[in-house]
């Protein structure tokens, strides 16, 4: 439960209590009181969510109850066959990948996977992929191209796993190879940031023809804590960093770094997985249709041009 959600939740509990007492009579005192409270809940929710600070969005994006990749796959795909392993070193549970049917089409799906319980989070390394997780993804990207299947990726990670063992197995190399492969993959690729889009670990699954973000997802060059540690020399300044980094979906849409913000249900995706998934389905279906109709050479040329254009520089006389 997030701080700014707490009084909304108290209100919700109060409403639920009254509902139990209200009985059938729509004109009772309790029923009238209920109507007022419900209006208040809606208004206050709308008000809070209309003025979310970047830091509040960071908290929403990391919400323990927020839907993760598997939750979306369950709702978007009529069948999902998870495939395991990088055929090199290990199977990394912090990335899930496989074959699925989306809107009648066979697709390859790949996403970071956070856990919900502590045990599952340990198992899934809190969604921080190891090199072998990225290499499992790479294997599936290759498979997608070989069999001409579009790719849907789902980004939800604090960042790539940064331990000494990850360095030993070439974390930087794994990330870079995935970007290079995705940049030239001869099938459509649609990227969705569903929660935390953390740094290079996110971008390793993030190069595609379209990049979508859920309304309260974030996407950042570094986690606010890491950026604060670098810039303010202390992670206590994470909230300031979040504000400075321009990491929210609306910010990034304005910056031209993403293509679309997918609206979340009132109160955030964690309050209603089904409508979050339904909103995403609508966008993905439309875009996939459009991309699958394109000539492959045009597709990868456009993809190149898209990332080619990301950046702002200016001219200056040589110093």
């Amino acid at each position: 439960m997030l701080e700014f959600e707490r009084d909304l939740d108290e209100l919700r509990e109060h409403i639920a209590e009254l509902e139990r007492d209200a009985g059938a009579d729509p004109n009772s005192q309790v029923a009238r009181e209920l109507a007022v409270l419900q209006l208040e809940l809606e208004t206050r929710t709308a008000d809070i969510f209309a003025h979310l600070t970047p830091w509040q969005r960071v908290q929403l994006a990391r919400h323990a109850q927020r839907p993760h990749t598997q939750d979306y796959l369950d709702r978007l795909c009529s069948d999902f066959t998870e495939l395991h392993g990088d055929r090199r070193f290990a199977d990394d549970p912090s990335v899930i990948a496989g074959l699925a049917t989306f809107e009648g089409r066979s697709v390859i799906v790949v996403g970071h996977q956070k856990g919900r319980s502590t045990a599952e989070n340990v198992e899934r390394n809190f969604g921080m992929a190891h090199p072998e997780g990225f290499r499992k993804a790479l294997r599936l990207f290759d498979m997608a191209e070989r069999f001409g299947r579009p790719v849907l990726t789902f980004l939800d990670t604090p960042g790539a796993s940064p331990t000494l063992d990850d360095e030993k197995r070439g974390q930087s190399w794994a990330i870079a190879e995935n970007m290079a492969r995705l940049a030239r993959l001869r099938v459509p690729v649609i990227v969705t940031v569903i929660g935390e889009g953390g740094s290079g670990g996110a971008l390793a699954l993030g190069v595609g023809d379209r990049v979508l973000m859920l309304e309260h997802a974030i996407y950042s060059v570094a986690s606010p804590e890491a950026a604060a540690a670098i810039i303010w020399r202390s992670s206590d300044h994470a909230e300031e960093a979040a504000a400075a980094l321009g990491l929210t979906a609306p910010d990034l849409l304005r910056a031209g770094l993403i293509d679309r913000v997918v609206p979340e249900p009132e109160g955030g995706a964690h309050r209603d997985f089904d409508s979050a998934a339904a909103n995403l389905r609508a966008e993905l279906a439309r875009m996939l249709e459009e991309l699958c109709a394109q000539n492959v050479d045009d597709l990868i040329n456009a993809r190149y041009a898209k990332f080619r254009a990301m950046g702002e520089h200016q001219q200056a006389p040589a110093v």
Partner: protein, 293 residues
């Protein structure tokens, strides 16, 4: 700011310097003229000290006077209006420009190596720790595109703290952008050789540098993904000194070679001779050595 200029290569103005230098790695004290004559290689620990872009270009090309810089006028914008407690990003850039006499953290251009024109991109660590922002990424991307258009091999020399935080997600996207440009070069059968100098970190290690066809480490260079601050926060342990050096990374299987600075030009010329298409060489200027390769 007055700078010496030689065919596009810039050097810092002469300033009085100490006669002794301290090795960044082992702390050994060395007599500066000898240290410089040894190409800034520590005689005690073999650490290869940082070079600025001009020194690096002089080291690598047949004749640095023939280096033609491209895109020297590209410089950072400030897409986020970013301010650190210590000052604005605009000020940081201005200071870096004054300090290095460069507009960005990389110097790009064309010059001859073993008689063959190569596209050369050398990072300038003195410019905001060689961090990669939009303009840096723009220059790297243009370098790969230039090489692709003209059928040239590419050599990059990295020395970078990683993505430039002050540009937020714009900086992160330079990883994708430069890597895509490098991948496109590869599809055309043109080689990209990357020299990872000290330090090569995070967003630069994990992008165009790591997908090079041949990766050369400089002895003693720190090469890693996660900055020590990130790791110590996560792991609460200090990495041993030998971890993350080029020699260590070579043993982990991530580098092709670790090459002493004195042999670097020769090695790069030889490797490019093997990989670059024959027609890209300018035959009239091929040296006897290169012709044999």
């Amino acid at each position: 700011m007055a700078v010496r200029r030689r065919g596009g290569v810039q050097s810092y103005p002469d300033v009085p310097v100490d006669l002794w230098v301290t090795c960044r790695k082992c702390g050994g004290m060395h007599y500066r003229p000898e240290f410089e004559a040894a190409l800034r290689v520590c005689p005690s620990c073999n650490y290869h000290d940082r070079l600025d872009a001009a020194e690096r270009i002089a080291l690598l090309l047949d004749d640095p006077g023939e280096f033609r810089e491209i895109d020297a006028d590209v410089t950072a914008a400030d897409p986020l209006g970013f301010r650190r407690p210590s000052g604005s990003y605009v000020d940081r850039v201005a200071k870096a420009r004054a300090l290095t006499s460069r507009n960005e953290a990389i110097v790009c251009g064309i010059g001859p190596l073993h008689g063959r024109p190569v596209a050369l991109g050398v990072m300038e660590f003195g410019f905001i720790a060689g961090s990669m922002g939009s303009a840096t990424g723009e220059k790297i991307t243009r370098l790969f595109e230039h090489a692709l258009r003209h059928g040239l091999p590419v050599i990059t020399v990295t020395a970078s703290g990683g993505a430039r935080q002050d540009e937020g997600l714009f900086a992160l996207m330079q990883m994708a952008r430069t890597t895509a440009a490098a991948a496109r070069l590869g599809e055309a059968g043109l080689p990209h050789i990357c020299v990872m100098a000290d330090p090569t970190l995070a967003g630069v290690t994990a992008s165009f540098a790591a997908v090079a066809d041949i990766i050369v480490g400089e002895p003693g260079a720190t090469i890693r993904f996660a900055g020590s601050r990130v790791v110590q926060g996560t792991l609460r342990r200090r990495a041993p000194v030998e971890d993350h050096t080029a020699e260590w990374v070579l043993r982990q299987g991530m580098l092709d070679l670790v090459v002493p600075r004195r042999e670097l030009r020769e090695t790069l010329g030889r490797v490019i001779g093997h990989l670059a298409p024959a027609e890209a060489a300018a035959p009239a200027r091929v040296t006897a050595k290169a012709a044999r390769v």
